[in-house]
């Protein structure tokens, strides 16, 4: 059965600021939904709520027909942060963390970690200290660390921000490979419209915590319905 994520009227307030305002959308297994919008539009807030790291003030998150709470979400969703955070230990221990806390057998962990590191050209990096790796390598480790636990929802918060173009392409290719397997729903926040165009099934434009445009990638760029989105896509949006 194909997984289905439904967000219904999510609201999140930070004192007077409405970070999310009656936000509703759907995503299906094998799709990549890009969240675009200016800084402060609510992209990261939304990702953190889907990841079960923050609570919405109200609204529902429904997965395969079942409303999920914060603990359920943490079991099925995982977030790759914009700034790759590494545990102060080796690459192996970083990548194996999610499997270890799930009680996976240590032999199986070893095999999976080595296979995963090889798949992203990080073979031989297992015993290196993760914090000593370059930004691009750390982001690869972060992505492998998230995907190795086989999440049903993979959340990416600007995964290529702060990376040089060659590392950004490596990360994009990793995301494409994950996407090809059609094993999970991917929700990605990005400022890079070209990247969103290349990778997304659907693009959601967030503006002051609301989705003002949600359409297929091609349509989003060719014929956006919302006037603000039209300006956003053409680079004319002024603040």
């Amino acid at each position: 059965m194909s997984s289905h994520l439904h967000l219904e009227k999510l609201n999140k307030n930070y004192e007077d600021l409405k970070a999310l305002n009656n936000l509703t959308f759907d995503a299906h297994q094998g799709q990549l939904i890009s969240l675009v919008g200016v800084n402060g539009s609510g992209k990261t807030t939304l990702l953190r709520i889907i990841a079960g790291l923050d609570l919405p003030n109200n609204g529902k998150i429904i997965f395969n027909g079942k409303e999920l709470n914060i603990n359920d979400l943490r079991k099925i969703a995982t977030l790759v942060f914009q700034k790759s955070i590494m545990f102060n230990t080796t690459v192996f221990k970083n990548v194996s963390f999610g499997l270890k806390v799930r009680g996976v057998d240590s032999k199986k962990i070893r095999n999976k970690v080595f296979d995963s590191l090889s798949s992203v050209s990080l073979q031989g990096f297992d015993s290196k200290k993760a914090s000593n790796l370059s930004g691009g390598e750390q982001q690869r480790v972060a992505l492998v660390r998230a995907f190795i636990i086989e999440p049903q929802i993979l959340l990416l918060d600007e995964p290529t921000a702060n990376l040089d173009p060659s590392n950004a392409i490596i990360i994009e290719n990793m995301i494409k490979k994950i996407l090809e397997r059609k094993s999970c729903i991917i929700v990605m926040a990005t400022h890079n419209l070209h990247q969103a165009r290349r990778l997304s099934s659907f693009i959601a434009h967030l503006h002051y915590g609301r989705i003002i445009e949600f359409s297929k990638s091609e349509k989003f760029f060719a014929q956006p319905e919302n006037k603000i989105t039209q300006k956003f896509v053409s680079g004319e949006l002024q603040f």
Binding site: G52, L79, K83, I85, F87, G98, V101, A146
Partner: protein, 229 residues
Amino acid sequence: MFETFIEAIHQAIILIWKGDPEVFSIAIRSLSVSGLATLLSCLWGLPIALGLALSSFRGKKLIRGFFNAMLGVPTVALGLILYLLLSKSGPLGIFQLLYTPLGISIGQSLLITPIVVSFAASAIESTDIGVKDLARTLGASRFQTDLAVMHESTWGIILAIVASFSRAFAELGVAIMIGGNIRYVTRVLTTSIALETARGEIAFSIALTIILMIIVFSLTFIINFLRRT
């Protein structure tokens, strides 16, 4: 004056070099008394530090403030309070801890508990907030998340323990008031230094001071070395 000082250092080195039994028994007693004090303070101090750093509850700031304020408690004041509690007619007199090495250890453990609590709690709190989020998003339970955060702050906690030991090892007030500086029983480095200096046995005092300094500096050096490697 300078010549006397040089002569005293010379004698001190001979005392250490020849392995004077009294000097070494005092040093070993100091290590064991303060070591036990550190162990005891960690036994209750670390769980308190973890609780303060990793959970939020009403009165947390008050407790934190209490331990921070207790960092500067004068050792003589604590020694006096403990003396009154442990003396024969005191409420804890039945335990007969006054003038015993165990009594000094307990006194010192109370003295250094605020250091363990405040320093370890700060070390845990200063761990990148992202580590907590990272552990959670990878599916860790509350307990597993706390373990991950603790693991990240291991060196901070070790430094808190070392600082506590150094404080216990170098303090005088509690050791002299609870221990009474009894030869071969409760005499430790600091109480001996005070006594021998008062008696004019400067060489002996300097020998003990050198040992005191070597132990404290070696410990700090070893920890810093391990931390770097």
